[in-house]
């Protein structure tokens, strides 16, 4: 279910001090007279501005609006602009965010990973019949999420946000969002700001959240002749090797009626075109006769920003840096972080009735988020460091992926974002195989 009816939402009475007993800290059992020490808002609801209406912003706006907070959702691009993005989302996102199946362009059930020496391994033997990776067009997904947020009560503002005025002293002064709409400048005062404006976040700049390292993802959309397209009907390919990327992978992802061939890198951005040529070469027989219909590039954050919450401003999604290493997955984490942040604000403000503070944001959103996902991110970072470092390591990775146990564990954790229950003995075998493969491939690669 996308929106769980918030228990506090049903209480609409406006007594000045609701008397409630609540265990506020797990360590010290203190019973407080009121739910929180935050000041109640006089005669109005909490106002929140969500900057950016991609998956993160729309999910945040949805959670806020359905929780009773007055929400303004800012977006600069018209809904039909295509975002350069892989467009792959895991099953859990379809379930948790109620994405209707008619939005899905393709159901990828086979993933092929190809090593530098062109050893190809097929991932997907362990998938059950109802399991797949959903490929969507970003503009379709984003429009859907945006209009759903709007129908739940968020006020959609089409305009470019130019600046966020941050109050410097008092804790109740509002944040002023300056934006340009219809060729005129406007300003809006709000209590809370959620920055969901992507890798070059303006909100992050306004709160001096610090910088992060970015990878660049470059892709070309290629329309293939029908018989070549048939090969990619349910198949996505991942290529690894120094010729296609020194620290990431290159891909061929099928989209609605064309394929996206692209690559990415962090440390060799100036050579991205050479790497793109490299992947085009590697896939040459499979895309021969195709026509390039679009070329696009986009930065992908590599790690979280130094500051993700400051004052009553929170960053979510790409703006915060929630992209896993190794696979570069960000859509699910963007949507989930937007939702968790929105729900956290609703909870801390008791359905929009109270003002919230930085501690509330940190406790309800940041702490919960870190507790839930930091091990996932750390593990992906480890995988990237071990397996993407050299051609020898990449060969070892592909060899390991041939193992059914590895495939099952990988898909389980990707599709459902949970640690799959493994078999202890198989785990030991997997570790031994890992060490063995790495040793052998390093020797042969010398």
């Amino acid at each position: 279910m996308a929106t769980v009816p918030h228990p506090l939402h049903t209480t609409t009475f406006k007594l000045p001090l609701p008397i409630r007993t609540e265990i506020s800290h797990p360590q010290t059992l203190r019973f407080k007279a009121s739910l929180s020490t935050n000041a109640p808002l006089p005669g109005r609801k909490l106002r929140a501005a969500v900057i950016g209406a991609g998956p993160a912003g729309s999910s945040a706006a949805e959670a806020l609006a359905s929780g009773g907070v007055e929400t303004f959702l800012f977006e600069r691009s018209p809904p039909t602009v295509a975002k350069p993005c892989g467009g792959a989302i895991p099953l859990c996102m379809l379930h948790e965010f109620d994405i209707p199946s008619h939005l899905i362009d393709r159901q990828v059930t086979q993933m092929r990973i190809i090593s530098p020496s062109n050893l190809a391994v097929d991932f997907g033997k362990t998938l059950r019949p109802n399991e797949f990776i959903a490929m969507l067009r970003r503009e379709v997904l984003d429009s859907f999420l945006r209009s759903r947020a709007e129908s739940l009560g968020a006020n959609l503002v089409s305009g470019l946000v130019t600046d966020i005025e941050v109050p410097n002293t008092s804790s109740t002064a509002p944040y002023v969002v300056h934006y340009t709409a219809n060729n005129s400048r406007h300003a809006l005062s709000v209590d809370v700001v959620i920055g969901a404006d992507g890798a070059n976040s303006r909100v992050a700049k306004s709160i001096k959240a610090g910088d992060y390292a970015c990878a660049i993802a470059f892709q070309e959309r290629i329309k293939l002749p029908d018989e070549k397209m048939a090969y990619y009907k349910n198949m996505a390919e991942m290529y690894v090797g120094n010729d296609v990327s020194p620290d990431f992978y290159a891909w061929v992802f099928p989209k609605c009626d064309h394929v996206a061939v692209g690559t990415g890198t962090v440390r060799a951005k100036q050579y991205i075109k050479a790497y793109q040529r490299g992947i085009r070469e590697r896939v040459k027989p499979k895309i021969a006769g195709g026509k390039v219909i679009k070329v696009e590039a986009h930065p992908i954050p590599e790690h979280p920003r130094p500051i993700r919450v400051r004052g009553r401003v929170a960053l979510v999604g790409d703006a915060a840096g929630y992209v896993t290493k190794c696979s570069g997955e960000g859509i699910y984490f963007a949507a989930k972080s937007g939702r968790m942040c929105g729900e956290g604000i609703v909870k801390a403000s008791e359905g929009g009735d109270r003002m919230i503070e930085e501690e509330d944001l940190k406790r309800e959103y940041l702490k919960a988020w870190d507790a839930k996902y930091i091990s996932t991110f750390r593990f992906m970072d480890l995988l990237q460091r071990v397996f993407y470092g050299s051609n020898a390591a990449r060969e070892a990775l592909v060899e390991l992926c041939g193992d059914e146990y590895v495939q099952r564990m990988t898909f389980e954790s990707y599709l459902y974002k949970r640690l799959a229950e493994g078999d202890g003995w198989e785990d030991v075998k997997m570790v031994c195989n890992t060490i063995g493969s790495l040793a052998r491939c390093n020797i042969v690669g010398r």
Binding site: R277, P285, E399, V444
Partner: protein, 266 residues
């Protein structure tokens, strides 16, 4: 590497860094000549091949833009093997489609023993049993060649060879055992010398040393040291490794560091 260089004939072009357009198409090299670990050659070859793409259309301008980047890069190392790639870079603009056909023939890895995407073990027989050392060498050479001449992956021609085809004892016999001998030798020498030193200083004999906690700790440290520090560079590598392992975590915790000094002020 050195074996391959000795076995195969040298390049016919004299080594020079000229980038002039050659009067004839560049010679077709024997594919199993190792071209050396020069990364720039990858870019140049890709540039040459990409210019022959048909139907793609957008790479031409991109190629010329890239030329300037890559040209600067290759001016540094004066390896003679770069000659072939140099001439193709210069010829890039003019040769166009005609080059594509030739480059394709060059880029496939060929060897009499490499059949159908895998090594034919019968060709490696020595006294009736496959000579695994030769297989390992051949594969190493193939991968090295592929580093500099990446091949297109094709569905009609899949690669089947996997290092797990080579039995585990072949690896151990050739690579693990010599290293193990070396390390055990070092540990034994250190052990003998330290025992003698401790004995002469304190009068405690070997058996009594083994019962002492401090001596056991020293023993542990020396064993770990011998295992981890095998070359001079290892000390630096270990320090960097430790830093790298904790770096990502530090980036995640950064947002919490601000909590202590002056949190909600900006």
């Amino acid at each position: 590497m050195s074996i391959s260089m000795a076995l195969f004939s040298p390049l016919t072009h004299p080594p020079s860094l000229s980038r002039s357009i050659p009067p004839q198409p560049h010679p077709i090299l024997k594919p199993h000549l190792s071209l050396g670990p020069l990364k720039a050659s990858v870019f140049l070859l890709s540039t040459a091949r990409a210019s022959g793409d048909n139907g793609a259309g957008t790479s031409a301008s991109g190629a010329t833009a890239l030329e300037s980047d890559v040209d600067q890069k290759i001016s540094k190392p004066p390896k003679p093997v770069v000659q072939k790639d140099e001439s193709s870079a210069g010829a890039n603009g003019s040769l166009g489609a005609t080059e594509a056909g030739e480059v394709e023939v060059v880029s496939k890895f060929e060897d009499t023993r490499w059949i159908g995407g895998t090594w034919d073990l019968k060709k490696f027989e020595k006294d009736g049993k496959p000579d695994w050392d030769a297989v390992i060498d051949a594969e190493a050479r193939r991968r090295k060649w592929l580093q500099d001449n990446p091949e297109s992956s094709s569905n009609d021609d899949p690669i089947i060879f996997d290092t797990s085809i080579i039995p585990w004892w072949a690896w151990i016999k050739r690579f693990h055992l010599p290293e193990a001998e070396l390390l055990n030798g070092r540990a034994a020498m250190i052990g003998f010398f330290m025992t003698y030193l401790v004995d002469s200083l304190t009068g405690v004999g070997l058996v009594d040393q083994m019962n002492n906690f401090f001596c056991k700790t020293l023993l542990f440290i020396s064993v770990v040291g011998v295992l981890l520090i095998r070359k001079n560079e290892d000390l630096e590598n270990l320090k960097k490794l430790l830093e790298e392992t904790t770096f990502y975590d530090k980036q995640w915790q950064a947002t919490w560091q601000d909590e202590a000094p002056g949190s909600s002020k900006n």
